[in-house]
Amino acid sequence: MTPHKPLHLKTFLMIAVMVIAGPLGNVLLGKGMKHMGDLTLWPPPELLHTALRIFASPSIWLGIASLVTFMLAYMLVLSWADYSFVQPASSLAYGVVALLGYLMLGERVSPLRWAGIAVICLGVFVVGRTNPRTTEPSNEGTSLA
């Protein structure tokens, strides 16, 4: 185990972007899909029509943009911070998505659902604190000059 490095501002910022942009993207997708009504998938012309209807929604595009932002922040932060540090922090996203769903879309979140989400966050946190690499001895990091 290496000693903990101080939390840099840019790491904190990137994790904040991840924890907000990821859930925000999902909530925007939810906002776009909520009023789509029945999605007909067959025959093929109907499928095309449904796809066009989905991608005509601004919320869907904003959601995709937000998820792309999340992916970029995730990949960037992993280029300098440890996965075992970033991943547990991102477990917060499951709480944030419920909070945003409640605030932005007026979803009713029952106490049991909140409890389940809290347990999921804890579980994802525990998964992330484990060694992310088991297939070969970790000598990478020296290979990157």
Binding site: M33, K34, V97, Y102, E107, R108, R113, G116, T135
Partner: protein
Amino acid sequence: MKQLILFALIVVAGTGGELCVSRAMKQVGEATSFHPLEIAKVILRALRLPWMWVGVGMMATAFFALLGALSMYNVSFVVPVTALSYVAGAFGGLAFLNERVSRQRWLGVLLVAIGVTLVFLGNR
């Protein structure tokens, strides 16, 4: 039933897609710099691998299944349930990539499964 199929698609196709892409990227090798030219080369090499196409196809399937689920259920229900991908990931890594899964990781996976069960019960 529809619910089950959609969530199974999101979790299994999503995790399966990531496993395939991960397998392809291991074949491609490490990106040595973030120079745009180097990144373009890595992408071109990746696109020649069948695993990459299988992976991208599965991830696209998972994305559309997610859209389908969101058209029927609240996002505060759908997204927590997709945490089941940690359960699928543990089993998938074990079977498909020969990874060892530590006892602590199994504990986390178990917690995720309990949490998802609570979310389902809270939806009644």
